[in-house]
């Protein structure tokens, strides 16, 4: 027990500024799950210019808009020693989305400007215009000797790559996660954690919540396992998310349907053109190839795009149209 009688001091860092994606839900859930097990919890909000409590056992750093992240940048930079010291004492530091990026070594903006991070996690993030947006329900996490599934939602422009000292929090299908390519999500380094998952991530992933809590409570419990809680509501939300198809945006299905109809029309037109030219004789074969090719290109690309869940809403449409247009111009040049 710490001096003021709390078993766990939970710090919400910048709650007024970094709170874009239900970050309070993460803090609230961690605090409640400790309280329900009989631990005394003190929740402390730390704003710009306020000191971190010296007995902080769990620090949560959420995400914010670009502008707000700029506003807190200087204050956060001044906390390197403070947060590093807390982590060295065994405090768990959980950064989510923007908070995850802050914990890393640096963040390179779209304009190519490099912003130094806290350097607590061996990761680097580079901003990209095309955001990775979508539901996550195939993430398999390994954290401090436990394994569990994670569900949530991700929405980030940054592509994060892990250095040798950090290990991925979870494995995800290609297209989502840290950089959309390497199949990793989040990062762990000692007691420091980062993830891109919203949901918020803690309430709908009780196994993750308890892994974090058990570690943060270790000074009070000596590392003893936590008593199980009645988790019916949480498990139901978690399991329903797990069972859903990875991406079910109706817009995509509509676009796929439109693309399929267009492809069919193109195919019919192509066949008609081919028949007509066949009747003419001369150029038959060559033009038939040209007329059916775009269809194949379009179909192929459409299917590929739908599988590639990183593609942004707007980008998807543009891409299909572009691919058909480029196919058409290729055709006319034959």
């Amino acid at each position: 027990m710490s001096a003021n009688g709390a078993d766990l001091v939970v710090v919400h860092l910048y709650p007024r500024l970094l709170r874009t994606y239900g970050d309070r839900g993460n803090v609230l859930t961690l605090a409640r799950r400790a309280e329900w097990r009989g631990f005394q919890v003190r929740l402390v909000d730390v704003e710009v210019g306020e000191p971190l409590p010296p007995d902080a056992g769990l620090v949560v750093l959420g995400g914010g808009t670009d502008r707000v992240q700029e506003i807190i940048g200087a204050d956060l930079a001044s906390r390197r020693a403070e947060l590093g010291g807390a982590a060295a004492r065994g405090a768990v530091i959980l950064g989510i989305c923007g908070g995850y990026q802050f914990l890393g070594r640096r963040y390179v903006t779209l304009e190519g400007r490099s912003i130094e991070g806290l350097g607590l996690l061996d990761v680097e993030t580079v901003a990209r215009a095309r955001r990775i947006i979508g539901r996550v329900n195939k993430a398999h996490a390994a954290l401090w000797g436990r394994e569990f599934d994670l569900v949530g939602f991700e929405n980030h422009g940054g592509r994060t790559s892990l250095g040798p000292q950090a290990t991925p929090l979870a494995r995800v299908p290609r297209g989502g996660g840290n950089d959309g390519r390497d199949g990793t999500e989040g990062a762990v380094q000692g007691t420091i954690l980062g993830t891109y998952l919203h949901g918020p991530v803690v309430p709908v992933n009780p196994a993750f919540a308890d892994a974090v809590l058990e570690r943060a409570l270790a000074p009070a419990t000596g590392g003893a396992p936590l008593a199980p809680l009645e988790d019916g509501a949480e498990r139901r939300a978690h399991d329903e998310a797990l069972r859903r198809p990875p991406e079910s945006a109706p817009r995509r299905r509509r676009l796929l349907a439109v693309a399929a109809v267009l492809a069919l029309l193109l195919a019919l037109a192509g066949r008609a053109a081919a028949t007509e030219i066949d009747e003419d004789g001369a150029l038959g074969t060559r033009v038939a190839v040209c007329a059916t090719n775009p269809t194949e290109v379009l179909l192929h690309r459409t299917v590929r795009t739908v599988h590639d869940r990183t593609v942004h809403h707007g980008g998807y449409v543009g891409w299909s149209i572009r691919s058909s247009a480029s196919a058409a111009s290729h055709c006319s040049s034959i």
């Binding site: 500024l17 709170r19 239900g22 670009d66 502008r67 707000v68 949901g199 309430p203 939300a237």
Partner: protein, 461 residues
């Protein structure tokens, strides 16, 4: 300026086609009439909107912003209609280019004025085409971040639109929204705001307000201090660091006494305004409507007469009578909006049960994290039975659990959710249903036994 006879004949043909498409889709009961006929026009002839709009010589009002578009536009239309003018409006949710095109194509021949709610993302295209006499900007809240991007981006879109009407029309803007007010600062905006009576004790939030946008100065990024506050980050604010401050607006609505779902008393421009719809957010909508009407030469007194008859629209505090039980349908779009509705429900003594419906289709916003930023705790403190509904009913149940309560049922099916809520409400009390957009459509469908009307209004996102 009247178009030449061939153009008029052409427009007449487009109009006939659009009416035909509407008729056909109604016959086919596909419910896609609004967007389909608009889409046809959008593809065939983008100049059509400009020419049709120019025929509305009584002037056009465009309403945009995150919350309150539909109700504010409906209030303005009601005020202008009371002056005897035929007023064209677009259907709720049909607020992209194609929705406005569809409304213009099928407008009655006697129409003189137009009032259109326009999606923030469609302003850049529609404002130059419509050339509004008044552009009304309601507020900027975080809403569907997966679709819109950040509030700062949206404020930028509204500011750009305001600059497009500068010189030809008036900008009417919410002075209580610091980010928005700063974005329109160089357009000589007509401001409006709201003053409230002191907060009842059970609503006192304590600690940071999580449904608000960050309270930072839009000019320098310093912390904002509030002289008065209403909803989330809305209020009269100033920055100690750089001296930026919101002015006292010419249209300041003072809320008098307690409002109910279907009544509210305001004092505005030295006139008593009784509105047939309650809630703080509707005080803002009414103030915006009176301010907008003033740019058409309508006095606050005349506007007040029109607003007295005003009743709720499609899912916005809409009363449904279901087999003798009363169900209030309250559209919930984002954390701030949800928190205001919670305040309204808690203050409304007629309510005996709450149905909280959250879905995650495109039109709802696919990331439901925001439910943790909304202040649902007062519902639990008032001891109301809560039913979780919508596609994400299970997430709602978790949210309620961590608010200190327990749901009486978790039911994604709208019909069964409604039945559970009715069963939980003591006899003689009403059900308040807070629902996200498509949940609201599902609920209306279940309650009214038909989905046709609801589907016709699906937002083209």
């Amino acid at each position: 300026m009247r178009p030449s006879p061939p153009v008029r004949a052409y427009d007449g043909t487009v109009r006939a086609l659009a009416l035909g498409v509407r008729g056909a889709s109604r016959l086919a009961r596909t419910g896609a009439g609004t967007s389909l006929r608009g889409l046809v026009i959008q593809k065939l002839d983008p100049g059509f909107v400009r020419r049709r709009a120019a025929r509305l010589d009584g002037g056009i009002v465009v309403v945009s912003g995150t919350n309150g578009k539909t109700t504010t536009a409906a209030m303005i239309a009601a005020i202008l209609r009371s002056g005897g003018d035929g007023v064209v409006t677009n259907a709720s949710g049909a607020n992209l280019f194609r929705g406005v095109a569809a409304s213009l194509a099928t407008m009655p021949t006697g129409s003189r004025a137009g009032v259109f709610e326009v999606d923030e993302g469609a302003l850049a295209r529609l404002v130059p085409a419509l050339r509004p006499r008044a552009l009304v900007l309601t507020n900027v809240f975080r809403d569907q971040l997966d679709r819109f991007g950040e509030p700062e981006t949206v404020a930028g879109l509204l500011g750009d639109a305001a600059r497009l009407v500068r010189g030809t029309g008036a900008v009417v803007a919410n002075v209580d929204d610091p980010l928005l007010w700063h974005a329109v600062r160089d357009t000589e905006p007509v401001g409006y705001g709201v003053v409230t009576p002191p907060e009842p004790p059970e609503m006192a939030a304590g600690g940071p307000v999580f449904d608000a946008e960050p309270e930072v100065c839009p000019r320098c990024g310093g912390p904002l201090a509030y002289r008065r506050r209403t909803i989330a980050h809305l209020g009269a604010a100033s920055c100690a660091a750089c001296g930026w401050s919101t002015p006292d607006p010419p249209f300041l609505a003072e809320v008098r006494g307690a409002s109910t779902f279907d009544s509210m008393s305001l004092r505005l421009s030295d006139v008593d305004v009784d509105v047939g719809i309650g809630g703080l957010h509707n005080a803002y909508n009414a103030a915006a409507a009176v301010a907008a009407a003033s740019t058409f030469g309508v006095t606050a007194r005349d506007a007040a007469v029109a607003l007295r008859e005003f009743s709720a629209r499609f899912g916005r505090t809409e009363r449904l009578d279901v087999d003798g039980a009363r169900v209030w349908v309250l559209l919930m779009k984002n954390p701030a909006g949800a928190s205001v509705l919670v305040r309204q429900v808690v203050a409304e003594r007629r309510v005996g049960a709450v149905l909280l419906m959250v879905s995650d289709r495109d039109a709802d916003g696919r990331d439901v994290s925001w439910i943790w930023d909304a202040n649902f705790e007062p519902l639990v403190r008032r001891g109301l039975p809560i039913v979780a509904g919508g596609i994400r009913a299970a997430d709602v149940a978790v949210r309620v659990k961590y608010a200190g309560g327990e749901t009486v049922a978790v039911e994604p099916d709208p019909g069964r959710a409604l039945a559970a809520a009715r069963g939980a409400a003591p006899s003689g009390t009403d059900v308040a249903a807070l629902a996200t957009y498509t949940s609201m459509l599902d609920l209306r469908g279940a309650a009214l036994g038909s989905k046709v009307d609801a589907v016709a209004e699906v937002a083209p996102v």
